[in-house]
Symmetry: C2
Subunit: 247 residues, 2 copies
């Protein structure tokens, strides 16, 4: 957790060659993202793409009934707002800050200009977008077939991968909203994990004690999504090793 935030904490930005990065750098704006902030919602025109460094954003769907479900999460491995360069401009989902932190944002016009000009940036963003699709479609299958406890494990692991910290700051209520289940269901599953020594928690804080334990209790979806993300971004070279090496 460096005192001075750097765009290089975001894997996509860090993967750009210096020449390309220098063109974008002047237009990158560091913003603080408080918990719960909505970066976009259905039908609202997106103005910026967000490259998270320490923040985590959930892409979630809110149904007519009020129920919600996360289709994917975005941390320092990715970017929020792919619909800008995909051409749709808006989406049917919302993007909500799930873990407070920072992100660099880029005005859509600069993003588009570089996307159309630079084959490398385009290639990078499209490959990331495919990883995002993998996450979404795997979540669809996971929601159908796996238990709350398995999904909680998956969610905790994916989230921890993005913050590189032992302790996550989030309430069970919020997790329930992401997974699309009852808060009580999360309480029960978390209780099991705590008794098993995998995690420990207190009022809004969850510490991961035993990653291997979580992995074995998780469904296959965690490993699959993680592997696919690694594959799709594996051949990119990092400009600096600052935030590279990844976990």
């Amino acid at each position: 957790m460096p005192a001075t935030p750097s765009p290089n904490q975001n894997h996509l930005l860090a993967a750009l060659p210096s020449a390309e990065f220098e063109l974008l750098a002047p237009h990158l704006e560091l913003v603080a993202l408080p918990l719960g902030e909505m970066l976009y919602e259905p039908d609202r025109q997106l103005q910026h793409a967000y490259f998270p460094t320490t923040a985590i954003i959930s892409l979630l769907h809110v149904m007519e009934s009020g129920a919600s479900a996360e289709s994917a999460g975005v941390g320092n491995e990715g970017v929020v707002g792919v619909s800008l360069f995909m051409g749709g401009e808006t989406t049917t989902s919302s993007a909500v800050v799930q873990t407070a932190g920072h992100a660099y944002r880029l005005d859509r016009r600069w993003l588009m200009q570089e996307f159309n000009r630079s084959g490398l940036l385009q290639r990078l963003l499209l490959r990331y977008t495919q990883a995002l699709m993998t996450q979404m479609s795997q979540t669809a299958a996971c929601n159908r077939h796996h238990s709350v406890e398995q999904q909680l494990c998956r969610w905790l692991l994916l989230t921890q991968d993005r913050v590189a910290q032992r302790e996550l700051v989030i309430t069970q209520e919020l997790i329930a909203g992401m997974l699309g289940v009852r808060r009580e269901g999360v309480t029960e599953a978390a209780g099991n994990l705590q008794r098993a020594g995998c995690i420990s928690y207190r009022r809004g804080h969850i510490a991961v004690l035993d990653r291997a334990g979580l992995e074995s209790r998780s469904c296959e979806c965690y490993a699959l999504v993680k592997k696919e993300l690694a594959r799709l971004l594996s051949d990119v070279r990092y400009r600096q090793e600052a935030t590279a090496a990844g976990r």
Copy 2:
């Protein structure tokens, strides 16, 4: 169902201006897709993109347990194999022919050449890909919150939109595989729909009798996905009105 298949039956191909289309046309190969054929599976390098005309393809995930679930379907409104131009080359899902029919296939090299050369084709394919993402993420939420009957209605409506025929040729067993539920669950839901006069079926054939009825029993996901697809491909102009006008 014209006796002579034409690439224009596929909305994406039909949306290309003549100049662009003429470049691709020599490389489009008409192929018959029998029920159950697997166009690709996890980790297998894709050789062709498929533009369905009368066939429908399911993108589905098969879990370790053997259970499966569809994350999206592709008919004449789209293309199978977006991972080719997204840069991933492979996916974690499979593509299986759900309704036998025809498609035009295009070798990856020609596809990539035109994708990189023509801004219009690129724009078209990327916008379609965003529609596909909408379908995937909506399916994730739908799988979490909606009943088997609601999902069956959604599935029937989406499928019928793609074939423009009253009668679908598919067994309840296969539908169950797509939705990721038990075959008996589909039998029960289909029985309800039949008693309500929305559909009628016999051994592998389902006829839609009352679309409005299905829509009212369906979850919001059907209308949302359909609307978003229409929006994303609305500004494209069709070269010929043959297959345009949409349903």
